[in-house]
Amino acid sequence: MRNWKESWNRFSTVFYPILFGALMITLWQTGILHKILGADTFTLPMPHRIYTIIKENLPVIMQNVQATLIVALGGLFLGSLLGYLLGVVAAIFTKWGKGGLTLASAFNAIPIIAIAPILNNLTKDVSPNANIRSMVAKILVVTITSTVAMSVNAYRGLTEIKPFSMDLMRSYAATERQIFWKLRLPNSLPFIFTALRVSVPGCVISALVSEYFAEYIVGVGRQIRENIVLAQYATAWAYISVACLMGIALYVVLLIFESILLKGRK
């Protein structure tokens, strides 16, 4: 009985969102959604039309997806690495580390649209190649936006140790260094995934927005902007759909990694 309930739970967490998605697409394709929203088929084209555009322009769309993915994942990697290191520094110097992280969280409050143009100007001399310096600027935007979540969570993972674990380590006369490698680091692993659950969707959004301001014209976000301004809504929606798929795909990859790496944990 218990087993059945558990498997139903697992099934329903996937089933309900899919059911909801299918319902929305049905409402959309039948035009009922347009009536509810008061929209027309020009500004909100039918799903099959969006699908056709994606299918017909797959090579071009994939080029833009690639550019956006490099920015999102590059920034996510650098930001998470930096964030984790900051967490480690804060955990070693706990006296002021916690206060420091609180202040560093202020970085999270800076809107992407404010830092993107600033970083564009700051990176003008990085490379004579506009594509490269533009890419650097965009990656830095994502780096900044994904640093804090990781540093705060890494700090918690490294410091919120179960008292009995710490007592056990002390009873073994373990050095601080040993405690760090054998206890703190493994303890922080679930917290890394907590941080990534926030910053993975966040990195895609930051990448899309940073492309709006970039010097070199490429990327899914940039295409959304260009096409909306040119009143090409069907194409803009095609890129919006692709952006959604990218976010979902990255999140699924993260969940798969998480289930493998945290197997056997609570």
Binding site: D40, F42, T43, I53, E56, N57, V60, L82, L86, V89, A90, F93, K95, W96, G97, K98, G99, G100, L101, T102, L103, A104, F107, P117, L119, N120, N121, L122, T123, K124, D125, V126, P128, N129, A130, V136, L140, T143, I144, T147, S151, F213, A214, E215, Y216, I217, Q223, R225, E226, N227, I228, V229, L230, A231, Q232, Y233, A234, T235, A238
Partner: protein, 363 residues
């Protein structure tokens, strides 16, 4: 001192250091162009270096046509809405509107870069790649349902433009009164330059009928649009190639509204609005003058002027009926109609292209 402060300092400085690493590399000195350099020399050199700038978002077609004319690829750098990129040499050949960015580049007033005559320009009209810009448009359906409103609006707007061009200083003051994103000095400069665009055609000949649709220039605009507007959506791309002048402009309202013996009739709709393409500035002085001098009221209309700015899509605003009229560039209207909007130009206020490419010259 709180215990946290030292840590905060260290953490912030770490992030700062990361940002500084990328800015520490010194800028390389750029060489500018000789004042006798030909257009071809400048365009080819800047394009080869990949330092031609434009704002994109539908403003790029004339630049692409010019690049093609000189056998260069049609790629360009995305230019911000200021001229900092031109100032710091990351863009050697920058896009500028004669009435706006060029004034900022040359002049020393607030927001200006004070280059004076140390810069030269390449004019799209002279190069034969001019595309028409600021017009007055509405939807075909609105025009057909409210012909008298359209005629009354055109007659009053044209009167406003005529007064503004005769009195640019007063017009600049009026615009400044209605809200301005730039200084009054720049507004005055802009009024003087906009006057030239309204009163001169692409060939440099004087225009007497303000707002009249010049079919030759419209055809050139449409032809260039068909070559350089690249649409991802194959349905829209195919439709673009089939568009003719009759799909994008209707001169009949203007012609009857401005005829000597014009009888305008009673407007069907009296509360109307016009969506500007950009922030309130002398680029749109004719409408502000018509409003301020009561020309719209005299025509039986209660007009609201809706400023644009940023990524506002004036074509969408008119298409969805949020506003009745709009000011856009003809190329934007063509792209929108290719996408399926039934927009119709009813007057062409700017008779020549105001877009130039500006470059610095060596002393």
């Amino acid at each position: 001192m709180r215990k946290g402060n030292k840590g905060a300092l260290m953490l912030t400085s770490l992030v700062m250091a990361l940002m500084l690493v990328v800015t520490a590399i010194p800028a390389t000195a750029a060489t500018y162009y000789s004042k006798d350099a030909t257009v071809k020399d400048v365009v080819v050199d800047a394009a080869t270096q990949g330092k031609v700038g434009n704002w994109g978002l539908g403003n790029e077609y004339e630049i692409q046509a010019l690049l093609s004319k000189y056998g260069m690829p049609t790629t360009y750098l995305s230019q911000a809405f200021d001229m900092d990129g031109f100032d710091d040499d990351s863009i050697l050949l920058a896009s500028a509107m004669t009435y706006n960015e060029l004034g900022l580049v040359k002049n020393s007033y607030q927001g200006g870069y004070n280059y004076g005559d140390k810069v030269k320009t390449i004019d799209m009209n002279d190069e034969g790649v001019a595309m028409l810009e600021d017009n007055i448009f509405t939807t075909d359906a609105f025009a057909k349902a409210n012909p008298n409103t359209v005629k009354a609006f055109l007659a009053a707007s044209v009167k406003g433009w005529a007064y503004a061009c005769a009195n640019p200083e007063e017009a600049a003051q009026i615009v400044y009164k209605y809200g301005s994103s730039v200084s009054s000095d720049h507004q005055l400069y802009m009024a003087g330059e906009v006057k030239k665009l309204v009163e001169t055609d692409t060939k440099g000949n004087p225009v007497t009928a303000y707002g009249k649709i010049d079919d030759t220039a419209m055809q050139q605009t449409l032809d260039l649009a068909k070559t350089y507007i690249k649409l991802t959506d194959s349905v829209a791309a195919d439709k673009l190639q089939t568009l003719t002048l009759d799909d994008i402009r209707d001169s009949s309202y203007f012609d009857t509204a401005t005829a000597a013996d014009a009888t305008l009739g009673t407007p069907e709709k009296t509360d109307v609005s016009i969506q500007l393409k950009w922030l309130p500035q002398a680029q749109f002085m004719g409408y502000y003058v018509a409003l301020d001098k009561g020309y719209y009221k005299d025509a039986g209309l209660n007009v609201t002027i809706v400023p644009g700015g940023g990524d506002i899509s004036e074509t969408t605003a008119v298409y969805t009926g949020q506003v009745d009229f709009g000011v856009t560039w003809v190329s934007n209207l063509i792209a929108a109609n290719a996408g399926g909007m039934g927009l119709m130009e009813v007057a062409q206020i700017f008779q020549r292209s105001g877009l130039v490419l500006v470059y610095k010259i060596s002393d």
